[in-house]
Symmetry: C2
Subunit: 549 residues, 2 copies
C-alpha cells in the first residue's frame, strides 16, 4: 500500500570510501517504517601497519541490525571476497535470506559451512537474468562482465523509480567463460527510465577501456610458447576465465597443468560444479609432475599478491614440494593491489635469487582489469541514462572523479556520499537526509571488535614504543613491602636500567603519610615514563598497579 511519505533511500555502510567491504542498503517506506534490502556484504583485508593482528574488516552494521526484522534479504552480485566475505560474519546480526546466482551461491555455501551456519541460513539460488520480489523491491539480475564468473548488475524497481546497481563490471565482448554484458537489457532499462545508477568507481581515474580477456588469452598463450623451462603462472584464483586461458595454453604447448594452492582447487571445483570449465584439460598432481621434463609442466599458483602462506610464496622460499630454479619462469598474470607492492617485490626478489625469470604486467600483456575505465563508464551512462549518479566502490578520489565524469556526460545529478550517509533518491532531488552510525568491525583472532574501541590503536602504540608494566607492593600502612615487579617489553636494553632506577627513586621518595595508593601509582608511572623518554626519546605505554598485602 503506497504511502504519501514513502521514500527511497540508499545507505552505503561499506565501499563508499574504500575499495573493499562493499555493503549497500536500500530502504523503501516512510520514516522508520522502511523495509530494507542489502546488496553485497563484503570484507576488507587487514594490514599490518594500520590494523596489526586484524585479518578481516567488515562494516559496522549496527544501524541495520537494530532493524533486522525489516531487512528482507542480502543479494550478492558476485563471488569476490569484498562482496560476499562478510556474510558468514554479519549474518547472525541480520538473520535474513541470502540470494545469489549458482556459482556465487556455491562459494557462499562453502563459507557458511566453514562457519557452521549452513543449516541456519536460507540461501536462495537465483538463475542468471532471474527476477524476484522482496517487499516493495522488484529485483532483476542483469548479466555483466567482470573478472569472475557470473557477475550481475541488479535493477531495483520500486514505486518511486528504478535503481541500477552495477556491482563490479567492465565491458568485455569476449569474456571467454560465462556471458557477455547484456547491453540490450541496460539500454532497455534506460528506455524505461532509470532514477539512479549506483556504480563501480575503481578505475574512474583510468582513461580508455580495460581491455578484453580474449586479448590476454592470445598474448599469454603466445608468451608461454616462447618459454623453455618450468613455467608457473600466478593469478587470482577467482578469475575463472584466466584459469581457463592458462589451462588451454598449457594444452596447446604440450604442458601438463598443475594447480597449486587451495583456493585454485576450490574455485575450479565450484566452477565445474556449476557447469563451467567442462572442456578443461585434465589436471596433474604436483607429486606426479615432479618427474616431468621442465618444458612439460605448467603450474597455476595462488599467491599473486605475495600473501605469506600462499603457494607461490612458499615455492619461492623453498618451503614447498614444487621447486623452481634457473631456466624457469614465473608469470604474474595479475595486477598489484595497492598496499601489496613491497610484499610482491619481496616475492620477485626471492624468485630472482633462485635464478627464476619473473614476468609481469609491467613488461608483458598478461592481465586486464575487471573494472570499467572511463570509456566504459561513459558507455554505461549512455545506455542507462540515469537521473542521479551515485559512485560507490571507490576511495574518495575515485568517487569524485567518477562524479565529475558523470556530470560531464550530462547526468543531471551526481552525488558523492560516504559510508553511513543516507541518501534519499526519491522523491525530490537526491539529498543526504541522515548520518547513521558507521564504522568498521575488525575480525581480530576469532573475536569481532569495533574499530572505535581503539584496540588497533593500542597495539600500534605497543609496536611503536613497547610497554612498561609495574606492580608495586605495599603493606597495610602504605609502606613499600617488596621490590617492585617491572616488565619492560619492546624497549631497548639500555633504557631498562634508567627505568628501574627511576622507579626505585620514586619508591624511595614515597611517604605513606602523605600519599595514597593512587598518588603512588601515578608518581611511579610518571617517573618510569619520563625516564624512558629521557633515555630513549620515546614514551612507552606505562601501567602501574599497587597491590596491598
Amino acid at each position: 500500500m503506497p504511502h504519501k511519505h514513502d521514500e527511497l533511500v540508499l545507505l552505503p555502510l561499506g565501499g563508499a570510501g574504500e575499495i573493499g567491504m562493499n555493503f549497500n542498503a536500500y530502504g523503501f517506506g516512510h520514516g522508520d517504517e522502511k523495509k530494507w534490502i542489502v546488496v553485497d556484504c563484503g570484507v576488507l583485508f587487514g594490514r599490518e601497519a594500520a590494523t596489526p593482528g586484524v585479518d578481516l574488516i567488515t562494516p559496522d552494521i549496527s544501524f541495520l541490525a537494530e532493524r533486522r526484522k525489516d531487512v528482507l534479504g542480502i543479494i550478492a552480485t558476485h563471488g569476490h571476497e569484498d562482496h560476499i566475505g562478510a556474510i558468514h560474519l554479519l549474518w547472525p546480526m541480520l538473520k535474513c535470506p541470502v540470494y545469489a546466482t549458482p556459482f556465487t551461491a556455491k562459494l557462499i555455501q562453502g563459507k557458511l559451512e566453514e562457519a557452521g551456519l549452513r543449516e541456519r541460513v536460507k540461501l536462495h539460488i537465483v538463475p542468471l537474468h532471474g527476477k524476484m520480489s522482496l517487499g516493495p523491491f522488484d529485483l532483476e539480475l542483469v548479466s555483466i562482465t567482470h573478472s569472475i564468473l557470473e557477475p550481475n548488475a541488479v535493477a531495483i524497481k520500486t514505486p518511486l523509480g528504478t535503481v541500477v546497481h552495477t556491482g563490479d563490471w567492465k565491458i568485455d565482448a569476449h569474456p571467454q567463460v560465462g556471458e557477455a554484458t547484456d547491453i540490450n537489457r541496460f539500454q532497455a532499462l534506460g528506455d524505461e527510465g532509470v532514477l539512479a545508477m549506483v556504480c563501480d568507481s575503481t578505475n574512474a581515474l583510468v582513461e580508455g577501456h580495460s581491455g578484453s580477456e580474449a586479448d590476454v588469452r592470445k598474448a599469454l598463450t603466445a608468451l608461454i610458447g616462447t618459454l623453455k623451462g618450468r613455467i608457473a603462472v600466478t593469478a587470482f584464483a577467482s578469475n575463472v576465465a584466466r584459469v581457463d586461458t592458462v589451462a588451454k595454453a598449457a594444452k596447446i604447448h604440450g604442458r601438463h597443468l598443475v594447480l597449486v594452492g587451495r583456493a585454485m582447487h576450490k574455485i575450479v571445483q565450484a566452477a565445474k560444479d556449476t557447469g563451467y570449465l567442462s572442456d578443461m584439460p585434465p589436471l596433474m598432481d604436483f607429486e606426479d609432475a615432479e618427474d616431468l621434463p621442465p618444458h612439460k609442466v605448467l603450474y597455476l599458483c595462488t599467491g599473486s599478491q605475495g600473501e605469506m602462506r600462499a603457494a607461490l610464496t612458499r615455492i619461492a622460499s623453498g618451503d614447498h614440494f614444487v621447486k623452481l630454479g634457473p631456466g624457469d619462469t614465473v608469470i604474474f598474470s595479475s595486477r598489484i593491489i595497492p598496499g601489496n607492492e613491497l610484499g610482491i617485490y619481496e616475492l620477485h626478489n626471492k624468485l630472482s635469487r633462485l635464478g627464476v625469470d619473473v614476468l609481469s604486467a609491467d613488461d608483458h600483456f598478461v592481465h586486464v582489469s575487471g573494472h570499467p575505465a572511463r570509456g566504459e563508464l561513459a558507455e554505461m551512462y549512455r545506455w542507462v541514462r540515469p537521473q542521479i549518479a551515485v559512485p560507490v566502490h571507490g576511495e574518495i578520489r575515485h568517487m569524485h572523479a567518477h562524479a565529475g565524469l558523470a556530470r560531464s556526460l550530462q547526468v543531471p545529478q551526481a552525488v558523492v556520499i560516504e559510508n553511513g550517509q543516507m541518501l534519499r533518491l526519491a522523491p525530490g532531488k537526491a539529498q543526504i537526509i541522515d548520518e547513521t552510525p558507521s564504522g568498521r568491525i575488525h575480525l581480530d583472532g576469532r573475536v569481532l571488535v569495533a574499530e572505535g574501541l581503539g584496540l588497533s590503536r593500542t597495539r600500534r602504540s605497543l609496536a611503536f614504543a613497547g610497554l612498561i608494566a609495574i606492580t608495586v607492593i605495599i603493606d597495610e600502612k602504605g609502606r613499600v613491602a617488596a621490590d617492585p615487579s617491572i616488565f619492560l617489553e619492546g624497549i631497548p636494553e639500555p633504557v631498562h636500567e634508567a627505568v628501574r632506577e627511576a622507579v626505585d627513586a620514586a619508591l624511595e621518595r614515597h611517604n605513606p603519610k602523605k600519599s595514597d595508593e593512587k598518588k603512588l601509582a601515578e608518581a611511579v608511572r610518571r617517573a618510569a615514563r619520563s625516564a624512558a623518554d629521557n633515555a630513549w626519546g620515546k614514551k612507552p605505554i606505562t601501567r602501574v598497579e599497587v597491590v596491598v598485602i
Copy 2:
C-alpha cells in the same frame, strides 16, 4: 710499496639488496693489512609494518669499525639521504675524514651540526672534477646527472686497476641546473681501461631512457599555465632543478612562489650558499600570500610521499596556515616510492574531499626518474667497457636484471653480490672471498639497536597479539599471599575474563610443597596463554614474575 699478495676488494654493507642505505667499502692491500675507503654512507627509512617505531636504518658496519684505523675516508657521491644520511650516526665508529663536493658538503655539515659533531668531523670540500689520494687509492670525481645537484661518479685508481663507481645517475643532456654528464671523461676512462664498474641498478627493469628534466620543465610550465585557482606543486626538495623549474613557471605565469616545508627552505638555502639558483625569482612567505587572489599564488611543498608531518599532508588535513579548496590544484611532480602508495593515496583522498584537483605523473608528464633505464645503462657500458660489472643500489631483482643486461652487452663478467659479501676484483677472476658480518642497525628513538637483537620482531608480536604481564605474590613458604597483578594490553575485552579465571585457577592448583617459584611462574604463564588462545585464537606474549614477600 706493492706487495705480491695485494688484492683489491669491494665490500658492500648496504645497498646490495635494497634501494637505500648505500655503503660500499673498497679495500686494497694483502690479508688483514688492507686500507679501506668508504663510498657513501646512507640510511634506509623504517616502515611501520616491518620495523615499527624505527625512524632510520643503517648498515651494520662492525667489520669496518674493528678496522677503523685502516679506514682512510668516506666519500659522498651526492647529497641524498640514502647516500649521506648515516654519516652522523656511524661516523663515531669510524672517526675518519669525510669528502664531498660543496653542495653535498653543505648538507652533510647541517646534519653534523644537528648531531653536535661539526667540530669533530674533518669534512673536506672537494671541487667538481676534483682528485685526491687516500693511501693506495687515487680518486677522481666525474660529473654525472641525477635528481639532485652535484652528483658524482668516482674513478678509483689502484695499482691493480681502475674501478668506476657510478653513484646514482642518469644521462640528461639538459639537467637545467648544474653540469651535464661528463661523457668525454667516461669514454677516456674506458680508453685507459677499466677493471670494474660498480653501478646503479634502480631502473634496470625499465626499458628505454629516463627522460630529460628539460622536457618536464616544458610540460610542467605549460600545465601550470592552464590552471586557474591556487596551485600547490609537491616535489622532492632535493631536486633543485625541479625547484628551479617551478620557480620559473611561477614567474612566467605571474604567480608568486611560496615555499612550504622546512626541507624546501633548507635545500634552497644550501643551493644558494653554494652558488646555484642565483636567478631564482623572489620568494613570498605564506602569511603574505594569504591575501593574494588564487591565480597569483604557487606553493611548492614538501610531502610528495605522504609523510605524516610534511607540509602537504598538514595542508590536506586542514592543519596548516595554507588552505586549499575547490578550484585549487595539487600537482605531484614526483614518483611514488614503493611502499608509500597507501599513504600517498590517502593524501589524494583528503585533497579530493576538500574539492582539490589532484594531478600526478599517472596522468601528466610532470616527473622523470633520476636513475638510468636500460638504454642509459647500455650507453654507459659502451663508454666505460669494464672487465667486471658489479650491480649495486638495487633489490635482488634489479641487480639480477642489471647483471643480465651487462652480460648481453658482452661485459666479460657480471657478479651479483649481497651486503656483507667481499668480492675480490683483482687479481684474477672476480670472486667472493669472504662473508663478513652484515645486517642492519635501527635508529629506534635516539638509540641504535642491532636488528639481530629482535626488538622490532618483539614489537611486531606486541602489535599482533598484545601482552599479558602477571605478577604473582607469594610468602616465604611459597604460599600465594595476595591477588595477582594482571596486565592485559592490546587484547580484546572478552578475552580478559578468561585469562583472569585461568590465572586464578592455576594459583588455586598451586601446591607450595611440590612446586618452586620457577614452576609456579611457568604454570601461570601457560594457563594464561592457553586461555587467551582458546578465547581468541591468538597467543599473546606472556610474562610472569613471582615476588616473594
